[in-house]
């Protein structure tokens, strides 16, 4: 077969969501679990599409629906860039099946293409999931246009290539630079965090600087917005304005950059892999290194160690926490009273902002759920854990601890800044400070619960467990949906929505805790 990347890609895709396993298993429990996980994902996806449709309808009602195609492509490209930075290049290097794959008669280019295609397909699915509902709304309200359909679809298909190439190249460079260091995992994690945070701050500051341009007309303002979010998406806007050549430039540039990226990376592929898999000699053993602690403390320590020695796990599991911290730090430099005055909010609306702010915390902290993949990460060594004389509840609680502690600390940090900046009253302060640990506990225990229900032990690279598994997707997208709902409802219902959320968190956390007592962990 000429295109050897094709069967390699197929094999990787077959591992996604456990569909192939369920298809070929005679065990009905496996089929039920997979179907349940996919159904939960479908529900979350449906709610997200509902939100997208609401936004698209409001655009069309304001007469600016024609900007939707370019805007959605710009936004999905930006999100692809940020997610690809999180994803890093761990799917390319140091995979468990490296020896097997490299021993086969395939080129490094084939390997790279097959690995990148999986990420591309995931990004494309996301881009189409956002773009298609917008197009349906646009055509329903403003009339059908074959040209708009064709240009938007072509744009969506090619849009993920450049952000993926840029992000993966940055990650590969960081990996190559740090591969020779003794504490390379920690170094990669730190540099990854810096690059991710930098990209977020830059994209926020550039995107929203367009708000200052209030005197120019709507069309020019949207062009500027698209330009600021993701410049190549302007070519889509230009094509829709009549410049047909622009779409060909978009396609050509995307394909060329992707091809160049694969070519460059294939040159250093083996070198980077070898450097990554080489282990340092470590320090000399001495008797002082023997110390004792409780079983639970030992478990929690190991969870932290796992989190901080795998950059893909750290970045993917704590992206929302980073977002929260960046938001908190950014708030320090924002003149909130002036911004509120500009928005012409009424006094009681300003007071309700504190409760809507809790929705942002849910949005961010809920996305950071290491416990949703902590059990899956035990992988083929899970027997080593399950054979220990520990109750399942203790194991799952230990797995929930890192997420709970880190998110609570970050949540309090941002909440305090937020409360000070908007001048929250005593009830607002109490609400934020109490609600943060309650939600973080719920989120961490929910992650453990999901991971017990839908474990993914058969991964060949950590990224398959920390990003592409059913529990992680439910936790990430579920928290986005929930957070968005609390933001909206918080503006109308104020304190009551947070109180309801708190009660729900307490009840659900207690239910998970009781449920964990009945859980049995088997290989």
């Amino acid at each position: 077969m000429k295109n050897k990347w094709l069967p390699m890609t197929k094999i990787q895709l077959m591992g996604l969501f456990g569909i192939n396993k369920a298809k070929n298993s005679a065990d009905p429990a496996i089929k039920r679990k997979t179907a349940g996980g996919l159904a939960a994902l479908a529900i979350v996806g449906a709610v997200m599409i509902f939100y997208i449709v609401l936004i698209a309808v409001s655009f069309c009602k304001q007469g600016i629906g024609q900007h939707l195609p370019a805007l959605t492509i710009a936004l999905t490209s930006l999100i692809t860039l940020l997610f690809s930075l999180l994803y890093g290049c761990s799917s390319l290097f140091a995979m468990k099946d490296y020896d097997l794959v490299m021993s086969m008669p395939v080129t490094k280019r084939d390997i790279l293409i097959s690995r990148l295609l999986c990420s591309y397909i995931a990004n494309l699915a996301f881009a189409l999931g956002v773009t298609l509902p917008c197009l349906v709304v646009l055509f329903a309200m403003d009339g059908f246009s074959a040209a708009v359909l064709a240009v938007t679809l072509v744009g969506a298909v090619f849009a993920p290539l450049v952000p993926m190439a840029i992000a993966t190249l940055i990650s590969a460079l960081l990996t190559a630079l740090t591969a020779g260091f003794k504490y390379k995992n920690l170094l990669q994690s730190l540099l990854g965090i810096i690059v991710f945070a930098g990209a977020m701050v830059a994209s926020f500051s550039i995107s929203f600087s367009a708000n200052a341009e209030q005197q120019i007309d709507m069309n020019a303002m949207f062009r500027l917005l698209v330009m600021n979010i993701y410049p190549p998406a302007l070519l889509i806007e230009m094509t829709l304005d009549g410049a047909i050549w622009a779409i060909f430039v978009f396609i050509g540039a995307s394909a060329l950059i992707a091809a160049l990226f694969i070519l460059i990376l294939s040159l250093g592929y083996r070198k980077i892999h070898d450097a990554l898999t080489a282990k340092s000699a470590g320090s000399k053993y001495n008797a002082e290194k023997i110390r004792a602690s409780s079983a639970f403390a030992a478990l929690v320590r190991r969870e932290f160690k796992r989190l901080f020695t795998c950059s893909a796990y750290l970045l993917n599991s704590l992206s929302g926490t980073l977002l929260l911290l960046v938001a908190g730090i950014a708030l320090l430099f924002v003149d909130v009273p002036s911004a509120l005055a500009q928005m012409q909010l009424l006094t009681d609306q300003t007071a309700r902002l504190v409760y809507a702010g809790f929705g942002i915390l849910i949005f961010c902290a809920g996305m950071s759920c290491p416990s949703a993949s902590a059990l899956s990460l035990e992988g083929s060594s899970r027997g080593q854990l399950f054979v220990l004389p520990l109750s399942a509840r203790k194991i799952l609680a230990a797995k929930a601890m890192p997420g709970f502690l880190i998110n609570t600390a970050a949540g309090w940090f941002t909440s305090v800044i937020f409360a000070v900046k908007i001048g929250a009253g005593p009830l607002g302060w109490i609400t934020l400070l109490v609600s943060v640990p309650l939600f973080c506990a719920f989120s961490a225990l929910f992650g453990s619960f999901l991971n017990v229900k839908f474990p993914k032990y058969d991964w060949t690279n950590e990224i398959q467990a920390v990003k592409q598994s059913i529990p992680v997707m439910i936790a990430v997208f579920g928290s986005m949906v929930l957070g968005f709902a609390v933001i909206l409802l918080g503006l109308f219902l104020g304190f009551w929505i947070v109180l309801a959320a708190d009660i729900l968190c307490i009840v659900c956390s207690a239910a998970f805790w009781l449920h964990f007592k009945r859980v049995k962990l088997f290989v």
Partner: protein, 243 residues
């Protein structure tokens, strides 16, 4: 007769409701026994061992460790055993000493006892100098040695091992046999699977032969073997059960 440490009664385990991996298997392992469990590939050895450790659920039957049911109180049972799988997939991101400390904490081994045992066994297996290195840098044999040291750390009543001699150098294999004998003299029991009939013959006082999930011979090695070599008996027993 010595006290029964492990009792398996009518154990049956089926995979995917069709393949019967273990079929009505019963056996007793007593304190002081070195019990070899032999059979062909896919005979059901690993399934039995995993069920005994409590990490694999089974369809019917009963497993007791020192009189406690694995199903009723798995945590109590697990605190009395140590299990070393055929390919110990230890945590690559920990150093050897971090892993031993972790296991020591889980089993509540006191600091001084821990220190003493780590020193003793790490020196015995010649990996003391490597305990500060990441497990990811260890060879298969070193990982095996580390797994054995971690298993010995809490002085288990029952040690369960799946192919323990694979990947070990001759010196380490010799020493582990010595450790087994020492443990059994102190009242513990060893239950291990192996393909190496020579090892089973020289080391074990009892053996069990399993085929297609069924126990086809078990008991004292002398009574099973008679005047023949274990290899001859093994082949004969397998052939007679094929007819």
């Amino acid at each position: 007769m010595n006290k029964t440490v492990l009792r398996i009664e009518h154990l049956t385990k089926t995979y995917a409701k069709t393949k019967r991996a273990v079929d009505d298997l019963s056996l007793d392992v007593c304190a002081g026994d070195i019990y070899g469990f032999i059979g062909q590939n896919g005979a059901g050895k690993t399934t039995t061992l995993r069920a005994v450790t409590g990490i694999l659920p089974f369809d019917s039957g009963r497993i007791e460790i020192d009189g406690i049911s694995v199903q009723d109180d798995p945590v109590a049972c697990k605190s009395m055993i140590a299990y070393i799988p055929d390919n110990p997939d230890l945590y690559d991101y920990l150093t050897g000493i971090q892993y031993l400390n972790y296991i020591g904490d889980i089993f509540g081994v006191e600091k001084e006892i821990r220190r003493e045992r780590i020193e003793k066994y790490a020196e015995m297996f010649r990996i003391k100098g490597d305990l500060g290195s990441l497990i990811g840098a260890y060879s298969h044999g070193m990982k095996q040695k580390l797994a054995i040291i971690s298993a010995l750390l809490h002085a288990p009543k029952l040690m369960i091992l799946d192919e323990p001699f694979v990947g070990l150098d001759p010196e380490a294999a010799f020493k582990i046999k010595q450790v087994f004998r020492e443990m059994c003299e102190n009242g513990s029991a060893i239950f291990f699977s192996t393909h190496v009939l020579d090892v089973a013959e020289k080391l074990c006082n009892k053996i069990a032969i399993i085929k297609n999930g069924k126990l086809i011979a078990c008991g004292d090695i002398e009574s099973v073997r008679g005047n023949e070599s274990l290899e001859d008996v093994f082949m004969e027993v397998l052939e007679s059960h094929e007819k």
